[in-house]
Symmetry: C2
Subunit: 560 residues, 2 copies
């Protein structure tokens, strides 16, 4: 079991409220699904196998929870599964998972089963599904409102029971989806980890590591198979980071293509860089399922901020797909497992002859990252400090880190305009650079390494760079994991940047390293073991359909 880590704290008033919230959440775990204390206390670092060993899930439930969303929909539509047994299976497993990795913020399985019951009756009566997602259990990130359920914008001061569904959940409900849990996100929703007033979410593959964030509750839950598909959001990597850390699939579509109307936020009107919402799921085809069905509901007719993206995945490419490989961004060198996986992918893609493989050189990712960090909090994060103060909430280290100078300033209109011009110029220059490369897509790391130890995820640029550019990205598993016998970190004496040095030293401390290099305390030696190694594939803005088709082709080559 992972070392006990500090909890979020605050004033007595904060503690009173948060204690009540945690009690409410704990009370939502039915006694029948409560894990014995010893199972929790003696769980191995890798808890993904635990649910199957608890005896709480039937063979059929274990089989159901192994399915991806597409298979779930197919099996329910063809009568091989009922909605009730599907929702029950995922719901039970989600509750078990939560006790191991603290991934949930609201549990309402009975409500989900009641809806599933209605859907089964509809199916029986009408002989058909109510919609393409009939009976599909979907997990939902905390700040995405579901009528009657708890939600927050990442601070105690923003906790509320949602009066209504937001547009996204309303569409999903119309399509037949069933809701049953909401998932954890960090304070401020601006960590690439997941530590909130509800607690700290752990990485299922190694609980001493972070599942990433901010949609880390989703990532951990799906890796635990307590959900096959969930809804996340991403303004700096918050879908892709946790998807990578938990070894699942996640897509950040081009912003303003999927509806975020009425999602909770605490900087409404801030539009220097735009968040995006998208699926986190168990397979590439689930991404297509989710987006195609949501877009078919024509959300742009209701949410006028949306761009009506035509969703039409090409079945082939007019000429051989040109795949750029970016091993590092010139600012921070990724850890050995990431470089190993990318090198293997490059070799396999090249050998296949099915795509054209070229090296992709990054364009001033340090500059782009500086700009996007400044855009996140244009008021110097006064809004964050005010919200913390309002509820007596103490600031967490990663919140402090993300809002601290030099990357945040309290701007006036003139300096803000200059900052946005800098952003626009960067985007223009980057576009020219990308066009000169001739790449259709770029395969790159999603993070400068696999899942980090808690409280260390400070270099977001591998994902955030695509947020400032608004290039869509898909994260998917390489199939590899960190392996001590293969992933050996060489000592380095020169570095690209301070962040590079930090990232290197983190690795030197935590990787298993041969004795002739650096000695480590035995306790630490296994700390990063088991972490999944993931890829990120990126395409130009609004080339979401090209991206989905390219990911399918590339994953096909890599796994054949």
């Amino acid at each position: 079991m992972a070392t006990k880590l500090a909890e979020a704290t605050g004033s007595p008033a904060y503690t009173t409220k948060v204690t009540a919230m945690k009690k409410r959440l704990d009370s939502q775990i039915p006694d029948s699904l409560r894990l014995p204390r010893e199972i929790v206390d003696t769980a191995p670092l890798d808890v993904t196998g635990v649910p199957a060993t608890t005896g709480l899930l039937t063979e059929k439930e274990l089989a159901i929870t192994a399915l991806d969303a597409t298979a779930v929909c197919e099996k329910i539509a063809s009568g091989q599964l009922t909605a009730v047994e599907t929702v029950t299976a995922f719901g039970k497993r989600a509750i078990i998972a939560h006790q191991l990795v603290h991934c949930l913020t609201d549990i309402f399985l009975e409500e989900g089963i009641a809806r599933a019951q209605e859907l089964d009756e509809y199916y029986k009566r009408e002989g058909k599904v109510i919609g393409p997602l009939h009976g599909l259990p979907i997990s939902i990130k905390d700040h995405v409102p579901l009528k009657g359920r708890w939600a927050s914008a990442g601070f105690l001061a923003t906790v509320e029971v949602s009066k209504d569904d937001c547009l996204m959940t309303s569409i999903l409900r119309e399509l037949g989806a069933v809701f049953y849990v909401k998932t954890n996100q960090p304070q401020s929703i601006m960590h690439l980890e997941t530590h909130s007033m509800y607690g700290r979410t752990l990485n299922p593959w190694n609980t001493s590591l972070t599942p990433g964030g901010s949609s880390g509750g989703e990532g951990a839950l799906i890796a635990m198979r307590g959900s096959c598909i969930g809804v996340g959001t991403d303004i700096g990597g918050s879908i892709r980071g946790p998807a990578a850390n938990s070894g699942i699939y996640g897509m950040r579509p081009s912003s303003k293509t999927l509806p975020m109307k009425d999602y909770l936020a605490y900087q409404f009107g801030a539009d220097g860089v735009i968040a995006s919402t998208g699926p986190m799921c168990s397979s590439a085809r689930d991404i297509d399922l989710f987006i195609s069905k949501v877009l078919a509901a024509k959300p742009a007719q209701i949410d006028v901020s949306l761009v009506p993206l035509v969703w039409d995945i090409p079945q082939s490419f007019p000429k051989k797909l040109r795949v750029g490989i970016m091993e590092h961004d010139g600012v921070v060198l990724p850890h050995p497992p990431t470089l190993r996986a990318l090198a293997a992918a490059k070799a396999k893609l090249t050998a296949s002859g099915l795509v054209e493989v070229v090296d992709y050189k990054p364009f001033k990712h340090d500059l782009g990252y500086d700009i996007v960090r400044e855009l996140y909090f244009e008021d110097g994060a006064k809004v964050v400090r005010d919200l913390l103060k309002e509820a007596g909430e103490d600031i967490l280290p990663l919140t402090e880190w993300v809002i601290s100078p030099p990357h945040t300033k309290d701007h006036d209109a003139t300096s803000l305009r200059a900052l946005r011009k800098q952003r626009d110029d960067y985007k223009d220059d980057y576009s020219d650079h990308w066009n000169e490369s001739g790449c259709d897509v770029v395969l790159c790391p999603p993070f400068p390494g696999t899942a980090n130890p808690h409280d260390t995820a400070k270099y977001w640029a591998y994902t955030a760079i695509w947020n400032i550019l608004d290039y869509p990205g898909i994260v998917f598993p390489s199939g590899l994991k960190l392996e001590p016998s293969l992933d050996v970190m060489e000592a380095r004496s020169s570095f690209f940047s301070d962040a590079d040095k930090f990232n290197h030293e983190l690795c030197m401390l935590l990787f298993p390293i041969p004795e002739n290099r650096i000695e480590l305390a035995t306790d630490d030696a296994q700390k990063m073991v088991g972490a999944p190694v993931s890829f990120q594939l990126v395409a130009r803005r609004f080339n979401d359909c090209v991206l989905v088709a390219a990911q399918k082709l590339i994953e096909g080559i890599l796994t054949e």
Copy 2:
């Protein structure tokens, strides 16, 4: 001839520079096309007929300059016209027009003819056109760069010779277009009139009136038939206002659909409300020609800020088109000619049975207009005052008006975020309102009356409301003009707003009014006579293709 109006002024340094600029412009008029002083001095208020009487244009040139852009392209492509004779005809007429209405800022007909010569040679040699706009003369607004030509962002401090084409003019050039003149825009590019350091552009139909702005040079030039199509920009009505005042066609597409990359501006990075660029032209089909050909060049692949709009004009509608008629916006009642034309259109559309006609009620247009005015200058217009100061340029009355409190403030990041939230909320609420109306398109006034006397165009909301919403709009002529015998203004004692009172009093002062109402000095009695009455048709954001198809259908009904 119109009364002599005040010229733009400034410091001695300003005067020296501007005098040289005006001298340069005047020297670009060849002696062979210089109008005798008496023709200019004794011209009637309506100067549209003057070019044909000068003896400077041949019958063929008069016939060529009567064509729309689509016909020009067809005739050149089929060998009925050469590029040289076409460019020569429009160029000569443009130079004549300029001497009557002061619509140009740069004249380079020789360069245009030289290019036309190359195109003719290509056509002769290859037996085909170089591109779909082969030989088409296109006039260009001052702040839209053309390589080697003068340009400015509306202030002397920003005047420069452009080093390169911008993306738009580069695409048009590739498509075969020929450039020959640039057109006037007002100081700050933020008047709905056209008064700049180069002088004041006059309305061809009645030179005591404004041609509107800020693309007023384009509007006046096209109404004078010195161009059949030109490029304008619109952030508050700057395409639609001048199109309306000059009785031509103009479309403001949804923003970020046509490229504005490298257009000159003086608030780069300001993105609270986004400008749009589009065609001003001689027919509805010219709008389709222009946009379809520019989009076919795939500008979104180069300008990454663009949304890749699919340009596919529906040939019919799945159900009868629902047309809302908005006679007024609840804030300022339009002048009688506008109301007369709308009432006639409503009757005709209803009687046709070909569309469903309903009354469209505006939704808080006063609020929307307040918000958009504040968004125009988020720094309280410091940037404007600095640019004026830099070159010793005096502020013009309409610049002072547009940047004055209460509608401009120097914001900080926090208040700016609140303002943008107010904008987003308004857009959301408006979208719900529009959806409840069930309208596909709304037919409404483009301005609270026909062309105003100079220096009085202060109520932009009939166009600016659609800028904050980013709903595309087409302005097109009703075929009617202000007629003293029909357009009688009733005295009113109560008003919607101060702006309504201003607009009413303007009309009472200037309209011909029966003796039993209000007596007017005879001099003033004819002041607004001859002004074209125009319509504005609007559709939801990104429904540009629906809009173009609907305008065609509606204009067909109205003119049959």
